[in-house]
Symmetry: C4
Subunit: 253 residues, 4 copies
């Protein structure tokens, strides 16, 4: 009674306002899971979600399944309290509140990734600011804050276990494209699934390249914020090409 | 007369107290070998073992076979002197004493890995202390000592060739989750097979991330020991998801 | 009416001077796309082209397809204004002007790659000069300039969107084998397809090795320009062997 | 008339003293080529050879074929002047003199690898001495000199094109296990094929680990030469396990 297909039947038959999700959207969400796993950005942990177009208080995300193994039948519909619509007793991701609270705070965001991408960890730990190394990661110019969970909850097991912590994280994120989480990982946002996948890939690559540049010395000349705005204004030009390649690689794996 | 199946028949038929090992445990041990090989943490050298539940003076480990090629029929039962139960004349790992002596000294340990994981080598050589970079490697906060074989045996070929060296290593390990071995590798312990695999994966990744952070500069803010305790208290939450992915990747290899 | 086969028929039947491209050349261009994708030097972005022998004002390049997926039927013929010969309404690479303007400015160049190879980014950003680390990258001794798009066009989205920017890039390249593009990538040239692939591979590897050497310290002894000239004079000796392996790996992918 | 099979028939039928090479030796040499290619230590360039047991003035090596593609039928027999026995007109590796001259100068050497392994290049360029990081690379303790081709021949294209350069390289190697070649690569020797493959793998890994340690700081405690002697005296213990895994991986590729 708790899988997507069933919950949709219930939803249609009953009082729930959610429209049936576009199968194309489910397919893209499955692809996003596979791509991010294939690129080493989601492993046994981490997750990706997408807001349902036209139903801003609902989002889709897998039940408690590792990204690499997610299939269409694992996709559930959640409300902004991060409760599965229609209930059910699937095991869920502990940190699902990240998604609900970011969607609540940020109407411009339609897709969210929570990742433990290794190259981002040293930046969260050292507090050295990420800088935009090149045009694919231009959005870094808008600023990537660091979330310190101790400020909200003192000593914890580092996880975003409830709505309160989710709200605190969304507060650190503010109007930025992503937020690092000290000693934990990062949360990345975008207006669409392909863009959140691209941003996660290139945020991680930017971190690696910035670490490389740090040992070269010289006088770094990062992207100017005006350059970043012009790049972002074109909203992911060429991304369709990359998306096609990523999907193919992930499928061939 | 020396393979597991046969030794078990003998054991059952005769005086040996060992219960027949759970086939699921053998399967998990084979999986642990494959996973660690796939992740580049065991190559032609190194090994993983598991204590037999309910029979604390026995453990399972492969005969002298590289981790990547281990199959169920290669698994032998050993006593805490690291002698195969029921004898036999299989070639054995030279350094099997690591396992027997750690199990003897540490009743809380149920699984042991001996690895040459490359990212750990620079820490053993330089004596720079490993620090907990993020929650997946929280146990690093408990301290990772370095074993110096010269203190026990002067100039050697670096191998743990007998019970005496095994005891010395266990002495350096003390009550910690892992011990680096200068110029050699590391020995990692945990209460279960999935956790020892996870600890080996994340100890190695933590080493890589700490080296990256070292070149970034900034003011590192490692996990606090209280955070580490809270994380460890949940005993590997989410590890079942990672274990599933690791097994699948190793099998698909 | 716009694919290569058709445009060639039109070309043959009508007034266009272009000879039918050698199918071997098309095959090699497809292979170059696949090799560079396989080596991680072209992803969803970037492209490779080849000038048509005997028709110096024409070059071959794919339509707007990611390198990894390029097939013979995607190859179009372009003039030096970077317009497809015979028109057509295929989507095209935005930055095709890189190719046309380099071929116009450099009669000695017969193959061009535009890449976002990650190891090159830190050099473009920091302005630290690339130095020739070893004989496979000897051409680095001739000097690898950095193109600053701000000098020509101020704040932009960093892309070479028109012939004017293409000419500015070719001006920075001057008579050198390659030019880095600050915050963007690089453009690499050579007298042939196998050599431009080899140069892209080894320019990127040279960048990695130079970053490694930077942290070792010591007194670097780079290739002398006389050594580079003697190496280059043999024009890619052994390259046929490497080309064979690269093609095979890319095909087996 | 020039392939191994034929040359052996001629050899048997005629005056040449060479015994027919053991098919097992040819198979191992093919495996060594595949393993080193698979491990990224030989690409389109570089080669591996083995001296024929009982015929110290002969060695086996491929004709001019990239390591990854070498098959048994590509293996030729050479004399110490690096001429194929029985003549023939196969294309040959330009730098075959490395092998002949090392075998001539070093009766204790039975296998030779010439590699461009990337991690070794920064050490040859900077002159920073390789140090033995761990027991698998213990032989580094015996010293790894650097060959400077300018001392013998001034400005060159860096290649060992003749016997004179081969002798100069063997002179730099002296009685050491390997020699770096500035701006070029390295030549590695050992008493057997499995050991020369192991030494090439671990020399390269040692270089990587030493570069990592360089950025960690601390007080490095390398292997003592006495430790290295004790390790080497056991002549590759465990190597048979690694060889089995390497072969399998290379075959499955």
């Amino acid at each position: 009674m708790h899988r997507l297909a069933v919950s949709l039947i219930l939803a249609t038959a009953a009082q729930v306002a959610a429209a049936a999700p576009d199968p194309k959207l489910v397919e893209d969400l499955v692809a996003a899971n596979r791509i991010l796993a294939h690129e080493g950005l989601l492993d046994g942990w981490g997750h990706v979600s997408v807001r349902i177009p036209g139903t801003p208080n609902r989002y889709l995300m897998a039940r408690n399944v590792p990204a690499e193994l997610v299939e269409a039948r694992d996709i559930l519909e959640y409300d902004l309290d991060s409760k599965p619509v229609g209930g059910g007793n699937d095991a869920l991701y502990t940190e699902r509140y990240i998604h609900g609270e970011v969607y609540r705070a940020r109407p411009d965001v339609n897709a969210v990734v929570h990742t433990h991408a290794p190259p981002l960890i040293p930046f969260g730990v050292t507090g050295v600011a990420l800088k935009p190394m090149y045009h694919r990661a231009a959005f870094v110019a808008f600023g990537i804050p660091v979330f310190e969970i101790r400020d909200t909850a003192g000593m914890t097991d580092m996880l975003i276990r409830d709505a309160k912590l989710g709200r605190a994280l969304a507060g650190s994120l503010a109007d930025k494209p992503a937020v690092l989480m000290r000693g934990h990982g990062a949360t990345v946002t975008a207006p669409s699934l392909p863009r959140v996948v691209g941003r996660t890939v290139f945020l991680s690559l930017n971190a690696t390249l910035q670490m490389e540049a740090a040992r070269l010395g010289g006088e770094p000349k990062y992207l100017d914020i005006e350059e970043a705005k012009l790049i972002e204004a074109r909203e992911g030009y060429g991304l369709a090409r990359a998306w096609e390649v990523w999907k193919r690689k992930a499928a061939a794996k």
